[in-house]
């Protein structure tokens, strides 16, 4: 079995980073979605429910991708995490505090980059920096902004306006703006869906590099199965809406130090990919209508599709995270 050493190596650094120092229990529930519902008034005095009683924990330093068909409420979940929308019921705890409105601790990378077109690249990033550090001097603000621009590889374009940039460069500025405020949590709403395949690939590489380097906690929505496999530590699968549910949380068995070009040779890649695609094609529909016996909305099942039960047990013995699951 070639899977075993690979998977073992994969979980080892994760374990090392996650258990470094004295970690409180809350690190496993760094973000905790607790029983949220979102309902909209529908014609005829009725209400339509996008989802209800949703529970989802996310760990600190973890990259979580959420996958599901349109209308399953992915964006609503992200907006609730961002504080742009309030849940009709339930509460979300992020970094130990209930979310009430937006916060500089949670940065959002928008689907349509949402740059202010009348500001330069530097101006856009500096706007975020000066919002974060209101009393910072002009030089300090510019310094931080330039640093964030350098991180996304846009040095030299500081004084360009968004209209002079390509789609990929615009989204880089969006990423720089989000990173510049040093958020505790990074939220991304299909950030690369408007880009061409080549640009998308390079940006995924960048985002992965930055997030691994800084141990950033990330929640990302995507339609793209391959994007989720490449970026995510765990992938949350949503059934179709309305009344969408978290069907399961898939642990990504691929090693933390992934190489895009070698990804499809990694053991477990196809099993994972097939699992995700099967879900999107059939199970997202069937599961909405009938959840399996024993399904508990409060504890969505965690699965690791690549491994046989024996392998899972072997990894669970070295991985406290796996044990919990």
């Amino acid at each position: 079995m070639s899977i075993l050493p690979f998977a073992g190596r994969a979980s080892a650094p994760q374990t090392a980073t996650r258990t470094a120092g004295t970690r409180a229990m809350s690190d496993d529930k760094y973000i905790s979605i607790e029983g949220i519902a979102r309902r909209y008034p529908a014609p005829g005095g009725k209400t339509s429910t996008v989802f209800e009683d949703m529970w989802l924990p996310m760990r600190r330093g973890e990259f979580v991708c959420m996958i599901g068909h349109s209308g399953c409420g992915k964006t609503t979940v992200l907006n609730i995490l961002a504080g742009l929308e309030a849940p009709t019921e339930g509460v979300v705890i992020a970094a130990g505090e209930a979310i009430e409105g937006t916060s500089l601790d949670r940065a959002v990378i928008f689907q349509g980059h949402a740059l202010l077109p009348w500001r330069t690249v530097l101006g856009n990033v500096a706007y975020a920096v000066s919002s974060r550090w209101r009393k910072a001097s002009k030089a300090e603000v510019e310094d931080r902004a330039r640093k964030a621009i350098r991180t996304v590889g846009l040095s030299g374009s500081e004084h360009k306006r968004p209209s002079e940039l390509s789609g990929g460069m615009k989204q880089r500025v969006g990423i720089a703006r989000a990173l510049s405020i040093e958020p505790k949590i990074l939220l991304m709403d299909e950030p690369f869906s408007a880009l061409d395949a080549l640009t998308r690939g390079t940006l995924q590489d960048e985002v992965r590099r930055i997030c691994v380097e800084t141990g950033q906690t990330v929640f990302m929505i995507t339609h793209d199965v391959d994007e989720a496999i490449y970026l995510a530590d765990r992938i949350v699968l949503m059934t179709n809406g309305p009344m969408a549910k978290v069907a399961e949380i898939v642990e990504n068995p691929l090693p933390k130090d992934r190489d895009r070009t070698q990804l499809h040779h990694a053991p477990g890649y196809y099993a994972l990919r097939n699992h995700l695609i099967d879900f999107l094609v059939t199970r997202s529909k069937t599961l909405r209508d009938a959840m399996p016996v024993g399904y508990d909305q409060r504890n969505p099942p965690v699965v690791r599709p690549t491994l046989s039960e024996a392998d899972a047990a072997a990894i669970a013995s070295t991985d406290p995270v796996g044990k919990r699951a």
Binding site: G83, A107, A114, L116, P117, R132, P162, S163, I181
Partner: protein
Amino acid sequence: MARNLSARAALLSLALLVGVLLVWQVAVGGVAKTQVMDPEYAALMGQTATTGKSAMPGPMDVGATIWQHLKDPFYDRGPNDKGLGIQLAYSIGRVALGYLLAVIVAIPVGFLIGMSPLMGRALDPFIQLLKPVSPLAWMPLALYTIKDSGLSAIFVIFICSLWPMLINTAFGVSGTRKEWLNVARTLEVGPIRRAFTVILPAAAPTILTGMRISIGIAWLVIVAAEMLVGGTGIGYFVWNEWNNLSINNVIVSILVIGLVGMILDQLLARAQRLVTFPE
């Protein structure tokens, strides 16, 4: 190619100008003797009677009058004899004052309407009702309440400049993209800072469009308003010269009014370009 085009356009404009001036000159020039009459009587009757020359001045006469005005634009020889420059300065001053007052009122109120759907709906019937009223219809009411003809003219300018700016500001503000507002929200930007750093720049091109429409209307209305209130200003000057039967000066005034209106429009067009952002 574009340079070539503008050069050709300039050439054509010049040709048209020369053509119009020529036709004008020929049309008003004397044709022939119409009557044989006593020379002294002929001198009294003037060229209109003796040579059939039109009372309409020719381009050369108008040119000479313009030169006269240019030589001494700011003379002041009593209430009915002031230089063209002084008259223009009065008109521009009134427009500037009324327009400025309208800016001060229209932009904040437009912001309010644009940001609050409640205020928008509540104020909408008033705006819809008052907007189509000719600004001159306000004149009697203004004269009665303000009791000062100069201030009444300024009030009329204020009223006519108000609506386009108000409506455009409200439209621009309410049209601020949600994603930009969301950026401000996620950055915890306060309402005042958000108004100045997101909504104002986003709405600025639309607001400037309204301001440009307003200045055009204000300049149109000031001539009529000054004809009514009298005393000073380019509108009064036109009417006064009509009463003097000085068609020369009336034509000069028309040219000057057009020129100033064009300059005002160009100034705001330039300001508009400054705040427009490409996307």
